[in-house]
């Protein structure tokens, strides 16, 4: 079944939330 837009969004944020919650951010981001 095709993944919906909200499911895709959840895939990103839930994964991001999981790593950030563990305090795993080690570098600042660059977007010049």
């Amino acid at each position: 079944m095709k993944e919906t837009s909200r499911e895709k969004e959840a895939r990103f944020f839930l994964k991001m939330k999981e790593v950030l919650a563990k305090g795993k951010e080690v570098s600042k981001s660059c977007l010049a």
């Binding site: 837009s5 909200r6 895709k8 969004e9 959840a10 990103f12 944020f13 839930l14 994964k15 991001m16 939330k17 790593v19 950030l20 919650a21 563990k22 795993k24 951010e25 080690v26 570098s27 600042k28 981001s29 660059c30 977007l31 010049a32």
Partner: protein, 346 residues
């Protein structure tokens, strides 16, 4: 504070008009610009996405807008735009060439809620003027002095190439004398007008040496000497620092992960220097685009990268500069933005 903190920023190019015509600029042709009302709608569009994410995933978003151009001070409605973004709970910063900032304007900047003003300075006088136009160095320095005199939090940013890499130490001393808060360094991206300057890009070894040197200067300097370039961040890590092996980025290049760029006509790009249009903010729901864009997903997906980058232990916190990877790929006749950063020496 509950929830997970997630920094998210938008680089918003509110005009492409500029009073300078720098040789290394990423612009190639002038694009039309959005009206004030369209910009406000774009801010609302992005704010809607952020509010949705915060509620849906119990995250604390720390959204910011970095307004730039072109030269942002050429827009007569700049302060209205800044005010609107601030009222919508965004922290706001500015990037400018500094040449138009007289003392009254610096005072006006001080009086709005700007967290940082970044001014571009690309070398000592002769070098800066050869890149940005005769007389621009003196005007930029005046702008910096006016901002400092008004107590505005500010930094100098230098675009590094073979043309100015040897002036680093003198420029740090100048920045210290000017009493700015920081001097930061970015790499030249040979795209737009800067395409002709590809041969002035540093080699991987020169890049590594340059950033190692910066780390040493930072230890000795009274101001912050740094670079947010992923390659610089990697080189500043301790040799025994353990890198979490996640399959989602947790640092490094922000394009499509922690940030996005909106161009003057509303075109959305992962990064302004990464000339890949993925939609237009006037026509799309930003929330939908963030979830759906195949380009954004490829930037977040380890498996999509070429081996040299994908297999690197630093992938989660680096991925190099995707804009430079794309610029060099295009010079070779393809659009592969997921290849090795050609200036990476790891």
């Amino acid at each position: 504070m509950q929830g997970t903190l997630f920094d998210f920023f938008v680089q918003f190019h509110i005009t492409e008009r500029c009073n300078l015509s720098c040789r290394h600029c990423y612009q190639s042709k002038l694009m039309p610009e959005m009206t004030y009302d369209e910009i406000c709608r774009a801010i609302d569009n992005i704010r809607g996405a952020i509010k949705g994410w915060a509620v849906e995933y119990d995250m604390i978003l720390q959204p910011s807008f970095h307004f730039t151009g072109g030269e942002p001070f050429l827009r007569q409605d700049l302060f209205e735009i800044l005010g609107y973004a601030y009222e919508q709970d965004f922290s706001i910063s500015l990037m400018s060439n500094g040449t138009l900032i007289d003392r009254p304007l610096a005072k006006r900047i001080k009086d709005v809620h700007i967290t940082d003003v970044q001014i571009s300075l690309d070398g000592l006088e002769h070098t800066h003027d050869s890149l940005r136009g005769k007389g621009s160095y003196k005007r930029t320095l005046e702008g910096i002095k006016n901002l400092v005199a008004e107590g505005v939090q500010m930094s100098i940013n230098l675009t590094v190439s073979r043309i100015n890499m040897g002036q680093c130490e003198e420029l740090i001393r100048l920045a210290e004398d000017l009493a700015v808060n920081a001097i930061t360094f970015s790499r030249l991206v040979p795209t737009g007008r800067g395409k002709k300057m590809g041969s002035q890009s540093l080699t991987p070894e020169e890049t590594a040496d340059f950033y190692r040197q910066l780390n040493e200067y930072n230890k000795r300097s009274s101001i912050t000497v740094s670079s947010r370039d992923p390659l610089a961040v990697i080189l500043s890590l301790n040799a025994n620092e353990e890198i979490p092996q996640t399959d989602i980025p947790i640092g490094g290049c922000a394009a499509g992960v922690f940030g996005i760029t909106i161009c003057a006509d509303g075109t959305i790009m992962p990064c302004r220097r990464m000339d890949l249009a993925i939609g237009n903010i006037n026509d799309v729901s930003f929330r939908e685009l963030w979830a759906e864009s195949p380009v954004l997903w490829s930037l977040r997906t380890r498996e999509d990268y070429r081996d040299e980058c994908r297999l690197c232990q630093y992938w989660p916190v680096c991925r190099g500069c995707r804009a430079i990877a794309l610029a060099f790929a295009r010079a070779s006749g393809n659009d592969d933005y997921l290849g090795l950063d050609p200036q990476c020496s790891l």
